[in-house]
């Protein structure tokens, strides 16, 4: 029993990381209808920036703050430069552009920082809380705390601020938002900036676990896709819940289903995506638009 609880805790820890990246995906999807295939790579690039700061002797939390600021600006810049020209284009065009970004960012990181793996410091102390044979690592606790905090801040932003309200308006009806005097394109850029920032948080959280290297996020992205699909691509709450569920499911499947083991765990998100898309395409928390004629 203790073993099982332990697995669930581990699962929640990894799940929180998936939730972070899924949240970033959902933010962009809600505003622009784009599934950003480059989201993981952007997060990886941000993590390298953080690593560079830490490497140069900047204290961890200051490096993180700087990285988040740069990621936010970078996300807005990418929207302005790369996405704006293809706004409203067919899905195929959008998918291809974000895939191009995927290749470009991945390779650029390899070019700048090489493909050798790097140690990334964990912001949390080692050790764990222990009770009844179950250990709750401080790092797991830290990861859960950070993701909960990000989630909470986003909730406050969207629910209680003027900008957040405007962003939700843009997501729901861009034309009407424009008629209300909202600068829609600025809000879209803001959406990309926020997504890049949230993605950066997930990158920094995952790096100490996986080691930092340009291909670090490839696997995580698939789990984030599964999390977002499960939660519903238009639901931030769903993304987080989906992330946690996928994380736990993956850990349990790896531990208890021997045919899966640790090497085929990536089949779990695949199964989740296919099952959800076939049987409940809007996901657990997604809305089929609330409208009455």
């Amino acid at each position: 029993m203790a073993g099982f609880v332990q697995q669930v805790i581990e699962g929640l820890g990894t799940g929180a990381i998936y939730a972070g990246l899924a949240l970033a995906l959902v933010l962009i999807y809600r505003f622009t209808g784009i599934v950003n295939f480059a989201q993981g790579e952007l997060a990886m690039f941000s993590t390298f920036i953080a690593w560079q700061f830490v490497h140069a002797g900047v204290p961890f939390w200051a490096a993180l703050a700087l990285t988040l600021a740069i990621s936010f600006a970078g996300g807005m810049l990418i929207e302005r430069v790369l996405i704006r020209p293809v706004e409203g284009a067919p899905e195929l065009t959008l998918v291809i552009v974000t895939l191009g970004l995927f290749l470009l960012v991945n390779a650029a990181a390899g070019w700048i920082w090489s493909f050798l793996i790097k140690d990334f410091p964990s912001p949390f102390p080692g050790g764990a809380l222990r009770a009844g044979g179950v250990a709750l690592g401080y790092s797991t606790l830290g990861v859960l705390g950070v993701v909960a905090a990000v989630m909470g801040l986003l909730y406050l932003l969207f629910r209680y601020t003027r900008i957040g309200l405007a962003m939700r308006a843009v997501a729901s009806n861009p034309e009407s938002a424009r008629l209300s005097g909202i600068g829609v394109s600025r809000m879209l850029a803001l959406g990309w900036g926020l997504a890049a920032l949230v993605g950066a948080v997930s990158g920094v959280l995952v790096a100490p676990v996986l080691f930092l290297e340009p291909n670090m996020m490839g696997g995580v992205l698939i789990y984030a896709f599964a999390a977002a699909t499960l939660g519903g691509f238009d639901s931030p709450v769903g993304a987080v819940a989906g992330g946690l569920i996928v994380g736990v499911a993956e850990t349990l499947a790896g531990a208890y289903v021997h045919a899966i083991g640790s090497d085929l765990k990536v089949g779990v998100p695949l199964a989740v995506i296919i099952i959800v898309l076939l049987f409940r395409p809007q996901g657990l928390f997604g809305h089929a638009a609330v409208e009455r004629a």
Partner: protein, 334 residues
């Protein structure tokens, strides 16, 4: 959605060129293609063989993405399955290599069909997502069934030898074989597209609901598009196995699928020449840019596919078509 930036209409690009010019160009290309192995160094012949291999795979992807409008990020899977099917037959069961081609094509056709059925209900982005996940899942799957696939080490095979009566060197033989198979695949794809099937696929791409109204049996053609596209990739995979004489899971990562998609986009979605140009692109961009840095090929790929989306949505083939029409225009004026 007729005025999309991606103008995928099957190309009037070459329509501007007078018919006899097109035949002349085709004859010239054929002659050059046949003469090439006797003029070039073995290494170059090998490279050209690989261009043909990629072109075959891209024929399939072009059918699916360019003509039927279905986004697939999993095309590399079928390439891998074709490669492995051929390799396993040659390695484990000593099947004569030429027989592995139809077998690989049959296997991939069936699996493509099988994938086509559940993905019927998926559109656009979700299809891209599912196919990409499958592509990522393939590598650990290949590693897992080591008794069949050789695990992470892969399978090393004996190179097929040319029949003695031809008097050809191995690279020349394989090149000519690849050329013949690629030409056959090209013909099959071409006649498919000129038939009712082609029109059905275009209807699917341009407007699914309208297609349904027009009585196109959506489900059937969508599934078949997957199956055919997989079959071409399977053929390419089999030839790839003969040429490289080695398969391993790490040659078939999701990057291969992304690269193939990049190739067909740059080559020209929905165009006749697109697969060939795309094949050359997939083969030579890494070769040329690798000297710069190991990361350079993907930087170039990334920049180029974004640039193509903005500047030349019809790809290289579209540009060539435009250049051709421009030349014809100049000539008429003279």
């Amino acid at each position: 959605m007729s005025s999309t930036p991606l103008s995928l209409k099957s190309s009037p690009a070459s329509g501007g060129l007078a018919r006899h010019w097109r035949w002349a160009a085709l004859a010239l290309l054929t002659a050059a293609a046949c003469a090439a192995p006797f003029q070039l160094a073995p290494f170059r012949v090998f490279q050209l063989t690989m261009v043909l291999v990629y072109a075959m795979a891209l024929l399939g992807l072009n059918l699916l993405v360019g003509h039927a409008g279905q986004i697939s990020l999993g095309h590399g899977c079928f390439f891998a399955l074709g490669s492995y099917a051929a390799a396993i037959m040659m390695d484990r069961w000593d099947v004569p290599y030429l027989l592995t081609l139809p077998a690989a094509m049959a296997v991939t056709f069936v699996l493509g069909f099988a994938l086509g059925v559940p993905t019927l209900r998926l559109r656009g982005l979700y299809l891209a997502l599912v196919t990409m996940t499958i592509a990522i899942f393939l590598v650990p799957l290949l590693k897992r069934f080591g008794s069949l696939t050789g695990g992470s080490m892969g399978l090393t095979l004996a190179h097929p030898e040319p029949p003695a009566w031809t008097g050809l060197a191995r690279d020349q033989w394989l090149y000519l074989l690849a050329l013949a198979i690629a030409a056959a695949c090209g013909l099959v794809a071409w006649s498919l597209l000129r038939s009712r099937v082609g029109r059905a696929l275009h209807a699917l791409r341009d407007n699914e609901s309208a297609a349904e109204v027009m009585g196109v049996r959506l489900a059937r053609y969508k599934t078949l598009a997957f199956a055919w596209s997989a079959m071409f990739a399977g053929a390419a995979g089999a030839v790839n196995t003969w040429v490289i004489a080695f398969v391993s899971p790490d040659s078939f990562t999701v990057n291969l699928s992304i690269m193939l998609l990049a190739g067909i986009v740059v080559g020209g979605l929905g165009s006749t020449a697109g697969p060939l140009l795309g094949g050359a692109f997939v083969m030579f961009v890494p070769t040329f840019s690798q000297g710069l840095n190991e990361a350079a090929p993907n930087v170039v790929f990334g920049v180029l596919i974004i640039a193509v989306m903005y500047l030349a949505p019809t790809g290289l083939a579209g540009l060539a078509g435009r250049a051709g029409r421009f030349a014809a225009h100049i000539q008429r004026k003279k």
